[in-house]
Amino acid sequence: MTDTASDKIPVTVLTGYLGAGKTTLLNRILTEPHGKKFAVIVNEFGEIGIDNDLVVGADEEVFEMNNGCICCTVRGDLIRIIEGLMKRKGRFDAILVETTGLADPAPVAQTFFVDQDVGAKTRLDAVVTVADAKWLKDRLKDAPEAKNQVAFADVILLNKTDLVTPAELREVEARIRAINPYAVLHRTQKCAVPLDAVLNRGAFDLERILEIEPAFLTADDHDHHHHDHHDHECGPGCTHDHHHHDHDHHHHGGLKHYHDEEMQSVSIAIDGDVDPEKFMPWINDLVQVEGPNILRSKGILAFKKEPKRFVFQGVHMILDGDLQRDWRADEKRVSRIVFIGRNLKEDELKKGFLACAA
């Protein structure tokens, strides 16, 4: 599953609840002067005009793999469409998949890890979720799909920020962070973001999982030189504060802390090495049992007597892990794992992981 081969076609998945602005984002990506050619897979053919040569209508056929793994669902139509597209190499450089507003992103993501043929020719780059700043808060209450999409995201565009007050914006951001503190979040109007905020993220690339600190709302991303004032990438590790709204100094980065009853993230760290003989069976058993509830998982681990970092990421029951670069001399050997999921048993997870300490 690991790929560093750059000749694989990157695939970006655009999700978001009905009306959040997915098609706006899609058209924005397509019309930016990037010189790239995209193949676009949309859910309802011809619904809204999409200005692109290669547009394919998909019908979201989700099916279970017949391998005894109930959460191991894939998108049969995607397998078929990608197979057809890959016979026309040179026609496009990247694929964009727009899902329906009610879609669960997991089967889409799992398709890239479960289907050998799809995985051999393409790589999942990131799941980008567009959220409506005004309505997301309500949808998180009444639409499980909206919550799934936020929980699953690598990048979240909090869109239509012009329709809410600064207080409402802080509120909805806090709700998002209660579910998914790890996604990179951008505040947008009309989905205006620089393309590198949504494309070529390498979110599933083990080589590019550098750190998994929560990306709290603290600052702009310093890597971007051409974004406008509405686009705040709140990346990890920043301490600057460039936001327009007032800050509540009692909270980190002005963020209120919420707890979502159903969907949470759990982060556990061991201040030192982990014994792979204990960790591997534990994590494998865990995802076998809890896989349906664990949407995403990630970890960077210091294995006993191993100079390299072990990095893994997972989607439900599917885990992908490998040894990455060496731990640097100035880097503390800390082992950290995170889970985003439904009804996570935090105490059990902690107990289980801490028992893997070397």
Partner: protein, 328 residues
């Protein structure tokens, strides 16, 4: 690496096309090539036909005709010296295609399967999920339609609800044995599933490292060759079928088999590989003959014999192709 005892490479003429070769064969004695970029080439000297507005997704070639389905939702029939004939038109990609006895054609677009008989009568069947494979029975106007969870056996001219052969999982390619006794599908889970129609007996043929995307019946109908492993896996279908019998492994090489084609008159199997190799293997004594030692290294995507068994044509993902003339 096993070196085949002898070689036919000097009898192969190289051909080159500019796109992924979807299908190759012989029509009216001429070679025929269909590319994913929409070109249909009949013979070496003529100009390619482009009946579809863009890509061709599926193609079938028999001795008389080429039938293609495109991303324009259209199905065309091409015969040598004639204008392409539009057989049907729908909205969406043509996903699967099969040619039947007496000039019948079947295809699927999204969740609908269509048949068209030689008089032009069309029938359609609504499906629960997209059809991935279609196959006509050798006798009677009957079609097998593989889908997610089952295969439907449909008599287009009868009002009765199609019979269902159920098996959990997604069924891809579909084959009916030449004697009409067995229906075989390849599955998403790297295995074959089969039904013996007489008693609905199940057959599960597993152990493949990859999906089986190509199957070929021997001329006597007693063997089914399959792709998907680092050898052609050939299942025995004499008597009650392959239950409890091990398959033959032919042409084991350190590369995955992508295409298989049984000779029309002898127990000789042509095998195309992921790395561009093509071998001929005689089933009776496992003798191997080299046809192509990789060429440009691109995967073999098309492989077919002429009806008389004297010529073999192959095509690759890169557009490279070759024509073998066997010594008489």
């Amino acid at each position: 690496m096993i070196q085949p005892a002898s070689s036919l490479t000097e009898r192969v003429q190289s051909l080159a096309f500019d796109a992924h070769i979807l299908a190759a064969g012989f029509v009216g004695g001429e070679l025929a090539i269909v590319t994913a970029e929409g070109a249909i080439q009949i013979g070496r000297e003529t100009t390619a036909l482009h009946p579809h507005t863009d890509a061709i997704l599926v193609a079938r070639i028999t001795g008389e005709r080429i039938v293609t389905g495109g991303d324009d939702g259209r199905v065309f029939e091409c015969r040598p010296g004639k204008e392409p004939k539009l057989l049907g038109e729908g909205k969406g990609w043509v996903d699967a295609l099969a040619l039947g006895p007496d000039g019948a054609v079947a295809w699927s677009v999204g969740r609908q399967a269509f048949t068209r008989d030689n008089k032009g009568n069309m029938k359609s069947l609504a499906l629960a999920s997209s059809a991935r494979g279609l196959a006509f029975f050798p006798k009677g106007y009957r079609l097998a339609v593989s889908q997610n969870g089952f295969v439907q056996l449909w008599f287009p001219n009868m009002a009765a609800e199609p019979e269902r052969l159920e098996w959990k999982g997604s069924h891809l390619e579909c084959e009916v044995s030449p004697d009409g006794r067995f229906v075989i599908t390849s599955m998403q889970e790297n295995q074959l599933h089969g039904w013996r129609l007489a008693d609905k007996g199940h057959m599960r043929m597993s152990g493949y490292p990859a999906k089986v995307r190509d199957m070929s019946w021997s001329h006597d109908g007693l063997w089914l060759a399959t792709s998907g492993a680092e050898a052609a896996i050939v299942w025995p279908f004499a008597k009650d079928g392959p239950m409890g019998k091990p398959p033959r492994e032919c042409g084991a090489r350190p590369a995955r088999v992508t295409k298989v084609a049984f000779h029309p008159k002898a127990l000789v199997l042509a095998v195309g590989y992921q790395d561009g190799w093509v071998l001929l293997i005689r089933l009776t004594d496992a003798t191997e003959l080299l046809v192509r030692a990789g060429g440009d290294g691109s995967a073999i995507t098309a492989l077919a014999w002429s009806a008389d068994g004297r010529r073999l044509i192959f095509g690759a993902e890169s557009g490279a192709a070759g024509l073998l003339d066997l010594p008489v």
